[in-house]
């Protein structure tokens, strides 16, 4: 049997020596819509392999754009955390077969609509896990040890006048993680190396995890000094960090958000920081990016990042490669590498 299969394959190859070249040309005619600028390398790759349409070149409405640019030839959408594929966009693309997200988060994709219409969805898990976890630890250290604040202190020449002041130790502190998925687990592993005690809140207890489980997020916040949001954004987790949780974390507590801005009631967060009811915060995400509450810009006990969790040269390229691979797999009728639906 194996020999026959092998012979059959060889015969096919003999018949079509330019098999790859032909499928490459075929793919070049496939319309792919990129929703916004995300990564130059990804854009270049999409342009090389497919017929790329750029939504941000649209001066009129999306519908007009798609009429002019042959929306019905678009068979794939590449979105990200800024602009994904909502119901409106999906409805305006009658030939849409796959949404390949340049992100692991799926909150900007109407998954229900995709399922209804049999549209495949792929994302970029795993390749970015380490970078996001590294940033979470970087934010904790940035806040507790005042790294960014003291860097600014030196750059404006203040060190000549006086020393910066005492910081707070990180090693040995209690860490609470909201969401013990891939990223939450990676964060826990790193924090353990600093001698931190780890506890978590999740939809359900994870049998493989050797950490203390809390079924109630208030109890988690009460028990820990550093609370890290690392879960997916869903209806249930929107504003999961509210006033009650913030008060439970307390004036010596710090909040780290590497999830989504909407996980945190931002108004409550800002007032807690201004009133000293919360010790500090490290934020990579906000409710209305790229707008950051002005009140935070002058605070010394916060570290603010412009949604860069996976923004390293290495990971951006790896994510781009994964998007391309998923698209190629789909259009070659092969299995998706990282399917969601």
């Amino acid at each position: 049997m194996e020999t026959n299969h092998h012979t059959t394959q060889q015969t096919e190859k003999e018949k079509n020596p330019n098999l790859e070249k032909i499928s490459g040309i075929k793919m070049k005619s496939i319309g792919v819509l990129m929703t916004c600028p995300m990564h130059k390398y990804l854009e270049q790759q999409l342009e090389t392999h497919f017929n790329l349409f750029k939504l941000w070149h649209c001066n009129s409405s999306i519908t007009e754009f798609l009429k002019t640019h042959q929306g019905n030839t678009i068979r794939a959408v590449v979105g990200n955390t800024e602009i994904g594929a909502d119901a409106e966009l999906i409805a305006s693309l009658p030939s849409l077969e796959i949404v390949a997200s340049y992100s692991v988060g799926l909150d900007k994709i109407d998954l229900r609509k995709c399922e209804e219409k049999g549209i495949r969805v792929a994302n970029t898990p795993d390749v970015l896990t380490d970078d996001v976890a590294d940033l979470a630890i970087g934010l904790i250290l940035g806040v507790l040890r005042g790294i960014c604040a003291s860097d600014a202190y030196v750059r404006i020449g203040k060190w000549k006048d006086a020393d910066f002041g005492l910081a707070t130790k990180f090693s040995g502190k209690s860490v609470g993680i909201v969401g013990l998925g891939r990223i939450g687990t990676a964060i826990a592993k790193r924090a353990e190396a600093f001698g931190c005690s780890i506890s978590y809140f999740s939809r359900s207890q994870k049998p493989f995890a050797n950490y203390k489980f809390y079924s109630n997020i208030i109890d988690l916040a009460t028990s820990c000094q550093i609370l890290i949001v690392a879960c997916a954004l869903t209806e249930e987790t929107r504003h999961i960090i509210n006033r009650e949780v913030i008060d439970a974390l307390g004036p010596k507590g710090i909040l780290i958000n590497i999830g989504r801005g909407a996980h945190v009631d931002e108004t409550e967060l800002v007032s807690a920081l201004l009133e000293g009811r919360l010790g500090g915060a490290g934020l990579d995400v906000y409710e209305n990016e790229p707008d950051v509450p002005e009140e935070l810009l002058g605070l010394g006990n916060v570290v603010l990042q412009p949604h860069v969790g996976s923004d390293t040269v290495e990971t951006s390229d790896a994510m781009a490669d994964l998007v391309i691979s998923n698209l190629k797999a789909h259009f070659s009728k092969k299995s998706l590498l990282t399917p969601v639906i």
């Binding site: 380490d130 970078d131 970087g138 005492l166 130790k169 790193r190 190396a193 600093f194 390293t312």
Partner: protein, 332 residues
């Protein structure tokens, strides 16, 4: 609660063991108040008498001395203390103390390594993550209101899984290695001696270590041998994408050369807690986004200071009771 706070003291000052507080007049340490109930403290900086005359008159029988932070302790001063047996250095580094004189006299020295090691290691890791991931740069970007305008901040570089080379595998270096392993980094080191019990690979010299590393982390003490141990050759070996982190002493690095390498883009970045002429920092570094500057504060947390006070108190008590000391510094 700190152990010294629990100890009651009924002895009069005359019966208390004498301890000399060696400090620059500007160094006001809480240690004085903490130790006063338990020891007869001599504080020349508090006296109108010049230090040398004070010591000659009052300190001949002094057996123990506390050196506050990096107050210089010279052979000249040590010569005025013929009965000195113990120096308790309230600092991690001891390069401000005449070690040769101590060695000749057989004076025991303790430092604050055990109190400070974790904080110093945390700080080194913090600087490495910040330099690679451009955290301070991103923070400046947001605070300057540039995010809505420019949309994208420049990309950082993956910090995890880097090959890390630790220069000086003492207590601090070991704690750094332990932490970075959890980020998937491979750890190698150079030290005066190979440490067989340690799970990291040893390199006989810093140049070889630099060749094999993506990031060098300096955790060693400053001695004649380690002065400018990071020079042009080492930086070249580290390479254009290499990162250097210094939580040791400024003079471990040839600073002028480092600045040139950074300005020319011949090295990937630097996270510096110490400089050759503190608090002066080369102004050229202020414009760079691949540099993180820290005003010599790797160990300045409230927790480490409390640990230091506890350690100093415990060691002095132990010394005067002929009990074993902690954090003894081996003078070689």
């Amino acid at each position: 609660m700190a152990s010294y706070a629990n100890q009651e003291c009924f002895q009069s000052n005359d019966d208390l063991p004498i301890v000399l507080l060696h400090r620059l007049p500007s160094f006001n340490s809480p240690l004085k108040d903490i130790l006063q109930p338990h020891f007869h403290l001599l504080d020349p900086a508090d006296s109108p008498e010049p230090a040398s005359s004070f010591l000659s008159c009052h300190a001949k029988s002094v057996r123990a001395l506390i050196c506050i932070y990096n107050t210089p302790l010279s052979a000249e001063t040590l010569n005025l203390l013929p009965s000195l047996e113990l120096i308790v250095a309230a600092s991690a580094g001891v390069d401000h103390i005449d070690l040769e004189e101590c060695r000749c006299r057989g004076i025991i020295m303790t430092n604050a390594s055990t109190a400070f090691a974790e904080d110093a290691a945390d700080h080194a890791v913090a600087l490495l993550i910040d330099v690679c991931r451009r955290i301070s740069t991103g923070d400046r970007f947001v605070r300057a209101g540039l995010w809505p305008v420019k949309r994208d901040c420049s990309l950082g570089f993956k910090m995890g899984r880097k090959r890390v080379g630790i220069v000086g595998l003492g207590r601090i270096g070991f704690e750094v290695g332990k932490r970075l392993e959890a980020f998937g980094c491979s750890i190698a080191y150079n030290s005066r001696k190979k440490k067989p019990s340690v799970p990291f690979s040893y390199h006989a010299n810093v140049l070889d270590l630099a060749e094999d590393s993506d990031a060098l982390i300096l955790c060693c003490s400053l001695t004649e041998q380690t002065h400018h141990i990071i020079n042009k050759d080492v930086l070249e070996a580290l390479g254009k994408e290499g990162v250097i982190i210094n939580v040791g002493r400024g003079a471990l690095i040839d600073e002028k050369v480092l600045v040139q390498f950074l300005l020319r883009g011949d090295i990937g970045g630097a996270g510096l807690d110490v400089f050759e002429n503190e608090p002066d920092v080369p102004r050229e570094l202020f414009e760079l986004d691949n540099v993180v500057l820290s005003p010599h504060r790797a160990i300045f947390t409230s927790e480490s200071l409390e640990a230091l006070h506890e350690l100093v108190f415990t060691n002095l008590k132990a010394f005067f009771s002929n009990k074993p000391l902690q954090s003894v510094f081996q003078i070689e």
